[in-house]
């Protein structure tokens, strides 16, 4: 069954049963491998992407339910990797293994959209669903503050990301 998706402002048609988790459509059909599989039950946050600007666990989101909402993945957060969160993450050298970090950044992007200058408590509450097995939480918190200072909120929005480009080739 063909499903139309708008991912990172590119329209793509994918052939998958509607109950297929968005994560596996992104990774294996659209070849966007930034979102990661960690638990499959929405408990770790490694698969976090934005759907209609909201942070969702793509491992628990049926592709058939996405509809016309824009999907933004880490690959689409910024075309050049210069989103303030990405810049801050690099400045703070946040990652150790790095596997969870795309999900962390996407959760942080959703947070800063609603709360441009979050307190530690607000960060903790927003980021509680994202596990980091390496324990880089201190730096994630620092990097979110840093990005907030740089004004991440102004550029974090699925709809605000440049719209152009050909359809993503499907497998």
């Amino acid at each position: 069954m063909s499903i139309q998706l708008k991912v990172n402002n590119v329209t793509a048609a994918v052939d998958a049963p509607p109950e297929t988790p968005l994560l596996w459509v992104l990774r294996d059909l659209l070849h966007l491998r930034g979102a990661k599989y960690g638990c499959g039950i929405g408990f770790c946050g490694a698969c976090t992407v934005l759907v209609g600007g909201q942070a969702v666990r793509s491992c628990m989101t049926a592709v058939g339910g996405v509809g016309t909402d824009h999907v933004t993945t880490i690959e689409g957060l910024s075309p050049d990797g210069l989103h303030p969160l990405q810049v801050a993450w690099e400045e703070m050298d946040v990652p150790q293994c790095g596997y969870c970090q795309a999900g962390q950044i996407m959760s942080a992007a959703a947070l800063l959209q609603l709360t441009p200058h979050p307190s530690d408590k607000e960060i903790d509450a927003a980021m509680e669903g994202n596990l980091c097995r390496c324990g880089t939480y201190t730096r994630i918190r620092e990097a979110i503050h840093q990005a907030a200072k740089m004004g991440a909120a102004t550029s974090t929005n699925g709809a605000a990301i440049p719209t152009s480009g050909a359809a993503i080739p499907t497998k």
């Binding site: 499959g40 039950i41 770790c44 990405q86 150790q96 596997y99 970090q101 903790d124 880089t136």
Partner: protein, 745 residues
């Protein structure tokens, strides 16, 4: 430079540079002893392009410890180039060219410190020789700076890029002959350099094992028996083959021999491999798979049964004596005071964020693998043995992994991917589900420990008796479940005995970050805290006093004198270093002036393992519902003379502390042979709101630099439980915390 192996360099430093780990960690020790000295050449590691861009090969696997930075930084420093001009490339597996390529036992720093710098210095020497020949001047009049050779007398200079072709044709100087920089001149070592993969990580580039894609690749998943070694009797294979996307359904007979002792690599686990067009299809197919299992003898195992047997063994005479000196029983009976306690710690799992998996392709009798193994050479040997092929027919690419923590030292998933690839002749990516990953981990084994200690009238330790009830066949402890003769505090009490008893275990166990030490430290440092309390002495002063009165030599030899800059091969505790980190952490945490109040307290602990020393203090509060909050942690580490990449080192220490806190709340249990935990809801990890402020301090000493992956972890467990005691008067002698009615806030 192109790869040129004409100049075979004898690397006695590397060959003899024993990577001193405790001998009981046999897989790691094995891994650290190359059968022959590697013939390392600068040409193998360094490539300089005509435009001056320097590519440095990273030889070790990367799973988050920063090996792709640390080792190339050592080369770049002595090559005398700017880090901004360096590109790091992951080397393929080829130990004849690169030397040992593994990441485990915190060994890459001690193993790489000397040889990697010498490789860089030899590369620099080649550039100088090439320039001196070009100019017709003596080489000793030339200097280098930022990738250029300079001749001050004539004011001439040439970039390495211009000299590369000429330098590549020169014979490399013997590594032992090259001059190394004075550390005060370091411009890369000791200066924080961001992870070479960080930009790719934050932009979501395919980088990890799970991200591998090959043309025409299929996806695989394996349904294994819920009990270790259980075999397939029958299954609805034809029905599964007809499901959407399913291409192959393969029965794996496996190669597990069940016995009281389960070896490090016990063989392939039986199961049913499903290969499909997408990974999700393999998972969908698994929900419809019906297997009749022959669960086998391991189905009789349970955590309850282990506990009952351990209690019996603890009461009876010990199975064997690991270490004994002095008359322990006489010393205990004549002590002014004795303290007796039983400690229990559970099985725990690695639970790397990226579950296990691998990609492989079998074509024309050759196997190509993309491996996240941290011990890939062993993986190749195991694959060759299991598949009945030659190691020389296997090519291995080393791919970044989403965490190892010791899990990827075992190569079971690599063998599985290779086995499937050989059967189907199509590129295949195997990925375990989270549930697979927890159920089929190489677990950190649990244990029960009986302790008795004596104190004299002055409150000094008179004797220490330690009965360690672990798993194994009586002769061999299960992997990760042995205890060494010199395990602290052996050597310090005037009379000491370490006994061990074993019960059978049919389960894969392995090395989890700071194997053994991650639990033995908790036991020993908790019991020391008990003794200090019984003696009415401050725990810091009590332990410093114990450390000042060494009674017996180590069984594995004494360390060379202070100032010896080579690893000696003897992994033994140096009391001055142990005391040094305790004193530093006491100073930084304000230990002497700590306020004692109900519900809030500070605990201290220290440990030595993997050549590193760490002391940690935790400040906790415990509320009326026994909810525990760790507010602050202070850590003091001594890993020698140089912190190579300071920000990464600090992060590694903070991460070790977070993981150790996690261990306090984790437990794997068995019922009817089945692992009862399955995912993050019943196997919790620390989360951001539970993260304390963690301050890390370094005590620099004259010893050669050593690794950080492991020694940061062990002390935090007893630091927290000792702090809970200080706050509540309740002593935690069984982990996880929940079994005592405590939980994280």
């Amino acid at each position: 430079m192109k790869i040129d192996r004409r100049s075979f360099l004898q690397m006695s430093v590397l060959a003899g540079g024993g990577l001193a780990l405790n001998l009981y960690r046999s897989p790691l020790v094995e891994a650290q002893e190359p059968t022959a000295p590697a013939d390392l050449t600068p040409q193998a590691f360094i490539h300089v392009a005509p435009d001056g861009v320097v590519t440095i090969m990273a030889r070790a696997s990367e799973s988050g410890q920063g090996m792709r930075n640390m080792l190339p930084m050592l080369i770049a420093e002595e090559l005398d180039v700017d880090w901004k001009d360096v590109r790091v490339q992951q080397a393929q597996l080829n130990e004849k060219v690169y030397g040992r390529q593994f990441s485990g036992g915190s060994a890459n720093t001690p193993m790489g410190w000397e040889p990697m710098r010498r490789v860089g210095a030899a590369g620099r020497q080649l550039m100088i020789t090439a320039a001196a020949q070009t100019w017709g001047v003596p080489a000793d009049q030339c200097t280098t700076r930022s990738g250029r050779v300079l001749h001050a007398a004539s004011g001439r200079s040439m970039g390495y890029g211009e000299l590369a072709a000429k330098a590549a044709a020169l014979p490399a100087p013997p590594l032992a002959s090259v001059k190394l920089k004075d550390p005060k001149d370091y411009r890369i070592i000791g200066h924080s350099q961001a992870g070479v993969d960080t930009h790719s990580i934050v932009t979501g580039k395919p980088l990890f094992g799970i991200d591998m894609e090959l043309p025409g690749m299929l996806y695989a998943s394996i349904e294994k028996a819920p009990v270790f070694g259980g075999k397939v009797k029958s299954a609805n294979i034809e029905q599964i083959k007809a499901l959407p996307g399913v291409r192959h359904v393969l029965v794996i007979d496996g190669g597990i021999t069940l016995a009281a002792y389960t070896p490090w690599e016990p063989g392939m686990e039986p199961g049913i491999a499903i290969v499909a067009d997408t990974w999700w299809q393999t998972q969908e197919a698994r929900t419809k798979l019906k297997v009749d299992w022959d669960l086998g003898p391991a189905a009789a195992q349970s955590s309850e049964g282990f506990a009952t047997k351990a209690a019996e063994l603890l009461k009876g005479p010990p199975g064997s004596t690991v270490r004994k000196y002095g008359d322990v029983e006489a010393a205990l009976s004549s002590s002014a005071k004795t303290v007796e306690a039983t400690y229990r710690f559970p099985f725990i799992a690695h639970v790397t964020m990226e579950p296990q998996g691998s990609t492989a392709v079998w074509k024309d009798g050759k196997l190509e693998m993309w491996s996240t193994s941290t011990l890939p050479a062993d993986g190749v040997a195991l694959v060759a043995k299991t598949l009945g092929i030659q190691e020389t027919d296997i090519t291995t690419h080393m791919v970044r992994s989403g965490g190892s923590f010791g899990r990827r030292l075992q190569n079971d998933y690599l063998v599985e991917a290779a086995w499937i690839a050989k059967r189907i002749n199509v590129p295949v990516k195997l990925l375990w589900s989270r549930e697979d990953d927890i159920a089929h981990d190489g677990f950190r084994p649990g244990a029960t420990v009986g302790l008795k200690g004596g104190l004299d009238a002055q409150g000094k330790v008179t004797a220490w008796r330690h009965h360690f009830v672990t798993f194994g066949d009586g002769k061999h402890a299960t992997s990760g479940g042995g205890m060494g003769q010199d395990s602290y505090p052996a050597g310090f009490p005037p009379a000491y005995a370490l006994y061990t008893s074993m019960q059978p275990l049919m389960l894969r166990t392995g090395a989890l970050r700071a194997p053994g030490d991650n639990a033995y430290c908790w036991v020993a440092q908790s019991f020391l805290d008990e003794l200090a309390f019984a003696a009415g002495r401050d725990p810091l002063e009590f332990q410093l006093d114990l450390l000042s009165n060494k009674k017996m030599a180590w069984t594995s030899g004494e360390h060379d004198a202070v100032g010896d800059h080579e690893p000696t091969g003897a992994s033994v505790l140096i009391p001055e270093r142990f005391k040094g980190v305790l004193e530093l952490v006491a100073e930084k945490s304000g230990w002497a002036k700590r306020v004692k109040q109900p519900g809030r307290g500070m605990g201290m602990a220290a440990w030595f393992c993997h050549l590193g020393y760490f002391a940690e203090v935790a400040e906790v509060s415990v509320d009326a519902q026994n909810k525990v909050t760790v507010h602050r942690v202070w850590a003091a580490g001594d890993v020698g003379s140089q912190i190579i990449n300071p920000r990464a080192a600090e992060s590694m220490a903070q991460g070790g502390i977070m993981e150790g806190m996690g261990h306090l709340g984790q437990e794997i249990t068995l019922a009817e042979g089945k692992v009862q935990q399955s995912n993050f809801f019943d196997y919790p990890m620390m989360r951001m709101p539970q993260t304390p402020a963690i301050e890390v301090y370094w005590r620099k000493t004259d010893y050669s630099p050593t690794g950080l992956g492991e020694p940061t972890l062990p002390p935090i467990l007893p630091a927290v439980t000792n702090a809970i005691f200080a706050a509540t008067g309740k002593r935690i002698r069984t982990l996880p915390l929940q079994s005592n009615g405590f939980s994280w806030a």
